[in-house]
């Protein structure tokens, strides 16, 4: 099947139900998207599918032909994504960093759809887990990106 990832078309030969996460990591070779739980609990695997934050570990590759898939590797090509990354660096958000690809993708989707999110908007959109507990810095970074 053909998948459009980060603006390029990739011909991949996988079982149709292979999760998008593993297509991205193993077939296309982009390892910025992480595996944490495999059951849509943690959000480490979050990518954008047509702009929607998507837990790629439970999203079968079949049915994604024609969709526009964006991963952390090109997030800075997007003006909102770039702003988010800068806010992440300014606020020194990451600790171990393992959840942060997913967090940046989720925040980019949020701020694209809702440039000035309320606390409730942030609560609703930012549901990815962080075992290092960077939650307060995440929120501060989203605030500063939405103001900047």
């Amino acid at each position: 099947m053909q998948l459009n990832v980060n603006g390029s078309t990739h011909e991949v030969d996988v079982e149709p139900d292979t999760p998008l996460l593993w297509v991205i990591r193993e077939e296309i070779g982009l390892t910025g998207t992480k595996f944490g739980c495999g059951i849509a609990q943690c959000g480490a695997c979050t990518v954008l599918v047509d702009g929607q934050p998507t837990r790629s570990c439970v999203t079968p590759a079949e049915g994604l032909e024609g969709a526009k898939i964006t991963t952390i590797e090109t997030v800075e090509d997007d003006p909102v994504g770039k702003k988010v990354v800068e806010a992440w660096v300014d606020q020194q958000v990451p600790q171990c960093g393992y959840c942060q690809s997913g967090q940046v993708m989720a925040a980019t989707a949020l701020l694209t759809q809702t440039p000035n999110p309320s606390d409730a908007d942030i609560d609703a959109a930012m549901t990815n887990l962080c075992r290092c507990g960077t939650y307060n810095k995440l929120r501060a970074a989203i605030r500063s990106a939405s103001e900047g």
Partner: protein, 724 residues
């Protein structure tokens, strides 16, 4: 190197050009005596390595592993301060295995919140020595007195002649300078980078997906493996019923019966995983040093702990607690417990193994102790340790997960599969397989008996019941195992009659170190019971603590600081904005050489506890980077709130009932309180930073809940209770 160390604090130039191939000109090795060696009156070498590069940068080999705690950045800050080089110009790498890096009492590990405090003087001495050698090299070349040569960051200057040069220009020449003895270190009042909230070096790469972890290791010819673990240790596969089917699945290279697991090796991990999930495996009794009983239940084990009689091996005593309790009119008794916990680091464990033509073995793996893993890998591979290269990877969280525990790491599987296939193999555990093999924070019980007079506690007897990780993994016997009773012992309060005992009960589960170890539960037990004593004495818990700290200004200051930070102590429940009823609780802890005072504010949301704010005053004695400390306290508080509210690993029939984050919840973003941190730098001996923020959280929350609801919780987590 050993016989070249007359002055134990004197760095030795061991490079003689190219000791570390390709790293540039100057390589320093510093030998410092370990505490043990000092006690024996003989210097054992403890080496760290600094290379000055000809481009003016420097490279530091770190004895410690980076897993988000900011240690690499802090080391660069310390070395840079004395070397007079911007910390951003110092690249830090995790050093390979070697005796040189055993900086903690002759051992090497990243844990115990020990990294910076154990190496602070060493790192400063390294930086200062390298600077002195650069100055000497320049002075010789310019034909001037070294005393007239100064430095500015990255630059060597001779003011009188107007000469100046970059560090890189003299990196080569500095190498041939004698290593100075007795270098003087900067006066702390002149610090430019130490004590500053400098940004960490790896934040951008972690915000853009560029940071690489064990799971991301890519090497030529790599095969990928997925495993299914036996449902409990002590079982091993006897057959795979549908072996032919599994072998015929797409991408599958081979199927392997391992000790306690079945592995499928395939081109891709997902293919291996799909195949191994489809395997119909029959299990039979096998060998294990830690077999899990088929009927093990954590609920029943808690009863076993409760039933084990004291008083246990005495670990701390003052006055005569038994007598004082005997004479007391009223004795207050309580029993507390805490559950098994998983580490839940977000990166599941993996290992990549490659045998080379020359018989050596490369291993890429997460670890908190490279030499220990190297030694264990040598046993697993049946080759000498020196033939194994350990590539320690950036850790996707650790919290104690990556110490060496039995049967808890994928490297023996990776070694076996690489040998069997003749190809490099990466083994990755799914979260479900990780839940079956994590080394848990042990379940434990603490029993208290206390007596009060009008001022507060007059006598206190405590029994810590259970088994702890230092005993399990390093052979400490009951009484010698601080990880069993830390946080019950070592408290700062002046209670005249007290006794702490350890009642050992072997734990059938695999147990390990979990962020703040014994403190993660013992301070919850102690500080909660202290509030019970305050209630019995009719005292405000804050005021009573303040009185009990008479004689320790350090602790009193800290307690006053956290009260101030929270806007003044509030001892009774109050109406918050919007009319919601809230209350606060307070607790103190003395973990890992630092001191903390914590206040938490809670309300009820339906029948559940909501934590709104946590205030932490922390006194690590001396500091390196306040931003790192603040981040570590935020992180430790999050884990503390998580274990208080929601975490509990339940075993039934010898198996953990949760295998992923669906049935074992961890703290969600909408459950995170606001966290306010104030650092007090008392000047005391430097303490740790990574763990100390955690222990005060549970008791502060539980004391707040008692204050709010009148209900005293003696067993975590709070999600077990309905407060509605």
């Amino acid at each position: 190197m050993k016989d070249l160390t007359p002055d134990p604090n004197r760095p030795l130039n061991v490079s003689r050009r190219g000791f570390l191939a390709g790293t540039g000109a100057l390589v320093l090795s510093v030998s410092l005596p370990t505490r043990n060696a000092r006690a024996q009156g003989e210097a054992a070498p403890v080496d760290a390595y600094l290379a000055l590069n000809t481009d003016g940068t420097a490279t530091l080999q770190s004895p410690f592993i980076e897993g988000g705690q900011g240690v690499f950045s802090a080391l660069a800050q310390i070395v840079g301060e004395e070397l007079d080089l911007e910390p951003s110009q110092i690249a830090v790498e995790c050093a390979p295995p070697g005796d040189a890096y055993k900086t903690i009492d002759g051992a090497r590990f990243t844990g115990g919140s020990l990294s910076i405090r154990s190496s602070y003087t060493l790192m400063r001495t390294l930086g200062a020595s390298a600077r002195t050698m650069l100055v000497q090299a320049a002075a010789d070349a310019w034909g001037v007195e070294a005393g007239e040569v100064t430095t500015e960051p990255g630059t060597i200057l001779h003011e009188a002649s107007g000469r100046q040069a970059g560090f890189g220009d003299f990196a080569e020449a500095a190498m041939d300078m004698p290593v100075p003895t007795g270098v003087s270190l900067r006066d702390p009042v002149e610090f430019r980078w130490i004590r500053q909230p400098l940004p960490r070096y790896d934040v951008r790469s972690k915000s853009t997906g560029q940071a690489e972890y064990s799971i991301d290791v890519q090497i030529d010819g790599l095969l990928n493996a997925a495993v299914r673990h036996a449902p409990r240790l002590g079982l091993t596969p006897s057959s795979v019923e549908n072996l032919d089917e599994v072998e015929a699945m797409r991408g599958v290279h081979s199927v392997h019966m391992l000790d306690g697991a079945v592995a499928v090796v395939a081109d891709k991990f997902w293919q291996a995983r799909r195949a191994v999930e489809s395997a119909k495996i029959a299990w039979e009794a096998g060998d294990s040093n830690y077999p899990m009983p088929a009927d093990f239940s954590s609920t029943e084990f808690r009863d076993v702990l409760r039933a084990e009689a004291g008083p246990g091996v005495e670990v701390e005593a003052e006055g005569d607690a038994p007598q004082a309790l005997e004479n007391a009119e009223t004795v207050i008794e309580a029993e507390y417990d805490a559950p098994f916990l998983v580490h839940g680091q977000l990166e599941p464990p993996s290992t990549t193994a490659r045998f080379n033509k020359d018989g050596t073995l490369d291993l890429w793996l997460p670890n908190q102790a490279p030499e220990m893993f190297q030694g264990a890998a040598a046993g697993a591979a049946g080759i000498p340790a020196e033939n194994i290269r350990i590539h320690s990877q950036l850790l996707g969280g650790f919290f104690g997960r990556h110490f060496l525990y039995a049967d808890a790491s994928p490297f023996p599987q990776a070694i076996q599969l690489a040998r069997a296939t003749g190809r490099p193999v990466k083994v990755l555990w799914t979260r479900e397989e990780e839940f079956l093999r994590d080394a848990n924070r042990p379940m434990a019980v603490a029993r208290f008996r206390g007596a009060v007079d009008a001022n507060g506690p007059a006598a206190l007897a405590i029994e810590a019941v259970g088994e702890a990780p230092i005993g399990r993994w390093y052979g400490a016997s009951p009484g010698q195992d601080g990880s069993a009773h830390e946080g019950l012992s070592g408290k700062p309060y002046a209670i005249g009659n007290r006794r702490v005992g350890h009642v050992f009960v072997q734990n059938p589960a695999m147990i390990g170190f979990w962020r703040s170890v014994g403190h993660s539960m013992n301070d919850f037990f102690y500080e909660s019971f202290l509030d019970e004593l305050a209630e019995a004495a009719g005292r405000d818990p804050f005021e009573m603590r303040h009185d009990l700290l008479e004689g320790s200004n350090r602790h009193r200051t800290l307690l006053e600081t956290v009260a101030d930070l929270s806007g003044g102590w509030q001892g009774t429940a109050f109406d918050a904005e919007g009319g919601e009823r809230r209350a606060r609780g307070v607790a103190m802890a003395s973990p890992f050489g630092s001191e903390t005072a914590t206040i938490a504010e809670v309300s009820l949301d339906g029948g559940a506890v909501r934590v709104h704010q946590v205030w932490v005053a922390i006194d690590p004695g001396q500091i390196v980077n306040p931003a790192v400390i603040e981040a570590q306290v935020q992180s430790a508080v999050a884990l503390g709130v998580s274990q208080t509210l929601v975490e509990e690993l339940v075993y039934d029939d010898g198996e953990p009932q949760a295998r992923n984050f669906d049935l074992y919840p961890i703290l969600r973003p909408d459950q995170m309180p606001e966290v306010h941190v104030r650092i007090v730098e008392s000047g005391a001996t430097m303490g740790g930073v990574g763990e100390p923020g955690l222990p005060g959280v549970a008791p502060a929350i539980v004391n707040a809940v008692a204050n709010l609801t009148g209900q005293r919780v003696r067993s975590l987590p709070l999600s077990k209770y309905d407060f509605g």
